[in-house]
Assembly symmetry: C2
Homo-oligomer: 340 residues x 2
């Protein structure tokens, strides 16, 4: 069994309290005693039981992270960034995946709350903040990432998604596209924002989406790539064909690109494609993919730092919003000259 304070105390003929104080560097312990205790701890390889400590202090040093899909590189990078920052401060990370299912997410949140987390970081899949009510009631510091809710008073870290949509669409316009479609994402703020940005950019240039140019993600497709492929198939039925497509994320863009190439069309000559997320293998694809960088590493880092701040502060700190600026990354899938 594991070594306990009791064991050390017994061995040294001191009390448990004394051992506890040494462990936490209390000043009211004589140097001699301190040394003896430290010595014995080292010998026995003592590790304090964090569960017990959590119970009495109310601080678990555990942070929860809920993401829709771990395999999506964006969320994997996020998790990595968060984990790296927290590790340095002695925190552990409990990970839960919602599989893009609001119901499942709800259950996972409850389970996590039962573990008395010190903070929860979540890219929620809910379409309204209603499902997060219990989370708010628990008063656990909470940080939304990537996807936000207007009516939910929590901190948020993410990119400005309207800017994302504008940036991508403006870029397609700049390279000469005139019939620009948008493969949109599921019912979350990210997708809404990007769609809004797309509309605004078009409007600014006196354009608007042609009928059928905004195919919705098919429900039931198990991943973004399949959704992108299906949505692109729909677009390829249209007349006139789009000459540029802005996809709500990179996996969808990969699916769309495959659909285009399989149909015998060329990228970017016939149809230019831009995605979002800038996944790290984007440069190695059949056609290297232009993308709007979502700053996943920065989001993870900022979210973790914000979590640390919220956990340290005694009183409930005011929610804070961190909006990062997206960045355009141009690769072959949009590399062509502007039409005259």
């Amino acid at each position: 069994m594991a070594v306990r304070m009791k064991d050390i105390a017994r061995d040294l003929g001191v009390s448990v309290v004394t051992v506890s104080k040494v462990l936490r560097n209390h000043s009211d312990i004589s140097e001699a005693t301190r040394q003896r205790v430290l010595q014995r701890m080292k010998e026995l390889n003592y590790q304090p039981n964090l569960t017990a400590r959590a119970l009495v202090t109310g601080r678990s040093y555990i942070v929860g992270l809920v993401v829709p899909d771990l395999v999506h590189p964006f969320f994997a990078q996020l998790a990595k960034g968060i984990s790296a920052v927290l590790r340095g401060q002695g925190y552990s990370l409990i990970l839960a995946s919602s599989e893009e299912d609001p119901e499942l997410e709800f259950e996972e949140i409850n389970r996590l709350l039962a573990r008395s987390l010190d903070a929860l970081i979540i890219a929620s899949t809910q379409s309204s903040a209603e499902g997060l009510r219990r989370l708010r009631e628990s008063e656990t510091p909470c940080i939304l990432i990537d996807r936000m809710f207007e009516d939910f008073p929590a901190s948020f870290v993410g990119v400005d998604d309207v800017r994302v949509g504008e940036m991508a669409t403006e870029h397609l316009i700049a390279i000469g596209c005139r019939r620009i479609a948008h493969i949109r994402g599921p019912q979350v703020s990210t997708a809404f924002g990007r769609l809004e940005g797309y509309r605004r950019a078009l409007a600014r240039h006196g354009m608007e989406p042609l009928p059928g140019y905004i195919p919705a993600a098919t429900v039931g497709d198990d991943n973004s790539e399949a959704r992108g492929w299906n949505a692109m198939r729909q677009l390829l039925e249209l007349d006139p064909l789009p000459d540029g497509v802005f996809c709500y994320n990179d996996p969808a863009a990969m699916g769309a690109m495959n659909a285009i190439l399989d149909a015998g069309l060329r990228i970017p000559e016939d149809i230019a494609i831009i995605g979002c997320g800038n996944v790290h293998y984007g440069a190695s694809l059949r056609v290297p993919l232009s993308s709007i960088d979502q700053q996943s590493a920065a989001i993870g880092e900022q979210a973790a730092k914000l979590a640390l701040k919220l956990m340290e502060s005694k009183r409930a700190a005011r929610p804070k919003q961190v909006l990062l600026e997206p960045r355009l990354v141009v690769r072959a899938s949009t590399q062509r000259w502007a039409a005259p």
Copy 2:
């Protein structure tokens, strides 16, 4: 604050013990009392404090997972699979990333042990089992995945890496390659096994690696892709050039492919490439990548099931080995006719 048993007991004029028994479906509670308690629990939305429960029962319902790199799709899929199986049984998953650093991994293991996990699943980055000594001493059920140690009596789930190496190399031979190089991985069992398989397959056909044909991964490269690129650059300096390369994983293969294409050579006409892992975007690459499927989903699932079994069994169950058979997936990067 959160609702406690004490609150419910007080409200109903019963004892805490009674409440506790209802919660755990003890039979020695009258139906009437049971209903009243359940009723009140629902009203107050009671959630048992898992930390407290863990302290007294010695079961935390937490499983730890340590991987070298979350962003690597193989490990992301693994984590997803494990999490899915455990979720159904009420377990949570604490995730730690070792960043391929044995020292860091050592620290993470210690921290996890302090949380009294019920089991630990680990793709270890240690080059010997020595760093895992404390883990064994703790008697926490432990499951090695992907990478194993001969001299460490723990369960293992993974593919047969010698088979992986043989399969890849045999395939290159079958399509007509005669000068086959191998870009090898870091100092872990996976890499050793694949290298061994490569040698055996060559030997079986009366071949052997030419000098310089097994470039070592450059230390300091921050990821497999960069390693693959650098190693391929070394190979491209050689005379004669290899006409087939087996890479220890897919990211390395992607790096290698980029190096080849950037040098103006063709895949697979000049050099055929095969990787390992079968990452899910492999089909969308510049040249769709042939690969040996490592069964990441199956590994995750099996590891989680094995963990469940070990946790349920009272006495320390004997370590069990699960060796999965790899599968060859042929794509364009090795699609060419055998030489006459």
